[in-house]
Symmetry: C2
Subunit: 266 residues, 2 copies
């Protein structure tokens, strides 16, 4: 099925004026379309999906080479075609990111904990925990995060309970103005793209549109900590973006891999 | 009634090798004996009580003068005698300290809160709160204390709940080794003094023994924050001191002011 009259326009909206970083876009595509064990995408399909997003075939080849070298993808030849699938590592990382990317609700915000270090041993523990990404750095030796306090062997002060106050200075640190603005732009793009969707969309276009929408949200999430929406600035439109993404994906059911291959080869 | 054979020995134990700072000892005496509105102690009684604790009459006169000048005491002459009582201010401060001094249980430790400042406005709020004395300074911009978080207008991060861990480095800051050692000495002195009490003790001796015991504990409390015992180092004997004081005071009922005056003048 060819692109409907509005599909290129919806794709343009989701590109938001830039060509995606190819290797990262491919990671988003595999996460959305072919995350299951044994699921693969042919080079032909990948080239068509990339082209739909304005990516040249050479750039796609370079990205696929890099992803194989880095152990994200493995490939097999079958006759004239190369087939790519996620490696064990790639699939594990994709599966780890999936719940947050596709969540229709934010991180639960009822319970919080604060951890305070008072010596070098404690500071090292905080550094490790902060690297996991689900914390606010409330001071040089202070982290705050959702959920119960981890057991850190008594080296840290740990208090867990309600967040009685999450001040503006801390929420601004959680999400700086450029990310707040990027989230607002993404929300607008997702909403506008949804309004332009034709009644029916072919498997390749669905894959491209889904891939771009998921990619835009995934890229934003990678740059923000996994914290409840209450930890973000008042101007953060994360909940609206999440809802717009869910509506768009509901309008664009995940295509069957066989259909995608058939359309690309046909 | 004259002092029993063991009373001077019990007094020596409670003095713990030093003469008390007189004005502070007088504050403890008024808090214990004559805190009620209109209750007063004559100069004769005060001189006898001071002498019992090894304080010379001149030193007592200086202390009374200073306490009047600072607005803690007021005095009235009645014939040959001066009568001293707490001023409104003195009584209010005495009443404010009384619950903690005479408490038979430590500060409740179930609920805690942590406050974190991120800017100068927050730091100023923390400085004011820390001056109230019921906080642990867990970092330059971090306080932890018992009970619910105060409303600080959203300028601070505030989390309230269970203390999942109170580390050694923090408890050592709450109570440094010299105070831990002073508490152990006081506990030993209170326990030993109780063992030496005669079956019956006269009103003046009861007032002196009570005054010294309360004074020793009050002086220690003034130097430690009003925090649950769990916030103190493992070697802190506060609960044992509190129990020993309560036993001693139970053995030495607070004397009637009339009896004390009669014994001093008689």
């Amino acid at each position: 099925m060819p692109s409907g009259p509005h599909t290129p326009h919806a794709i343009d909206l989701l590109l938001m004026g830039e060509t995606p970083r190819v290797w990262s876009f491919v990671v988003s595509l595999f996460g959305d379309l072919a995350q299951g064990p044994g699921e693969s995408l042919s080079g032909v399909v990948l080239t068509r999906l990339a082209a739909g997003a304005g990516v040249k075939p050479e750039a796609m080849r370079v990205a696929l080479h890099r992803l194989k070298r880095d152990g994200w993808l493995v490939s097999e030849r079958a006759g004239r075609l190369s087939h790519y699938r996620l490696s064990e590592t790639g699939r594990a990382q994709s599966a780890a990111a999936t719940p947050r990317i596709y969540a229709t609700e934010g991180v639960p915000g009822g319970l919080w904990h604060v951890l305070v270090a008072g010596d070098a041993a404690g500071a090292a523990v905080l550094t490790d925990l902060a690297a996991e990404g689900a914390y606010m750095q409330a001071g040089p030796m202070v982290l705050a995060g959702p959920g119960p306090a981890p057991d850190t062997g008594g080296v840290l002060l740990a208090v867990e309970g309600q967040a009685a106050a999450l001040p503006d200075w801390l929420r601004d640190l959680v999400c700086p103005p450029d990310l707040v603005a990027a989230c607002a732009r993404l929300t607008a793009a997702l909403t506008a793209a949804e309004a332009l969707l034709p009644g029916e969309t072919g498997p390749l276009d669905r894959a491209i549109l889904r891939g771009l929408a998921v990619h835009g949200w995934r890229r934003l999430l990678l740059r923000t900590p996994a914290l409840p929406d209450a930890a973000f600035p008042d101007s953060w439109q994360g909940p609206a973006a999440r809802a717009a993404l869910a509506r768009l994906l509901a309008r664009l059911p995940r295509p069957d891999l066989g259909e995608v291959e058939a359309e690309a080869l046909g």
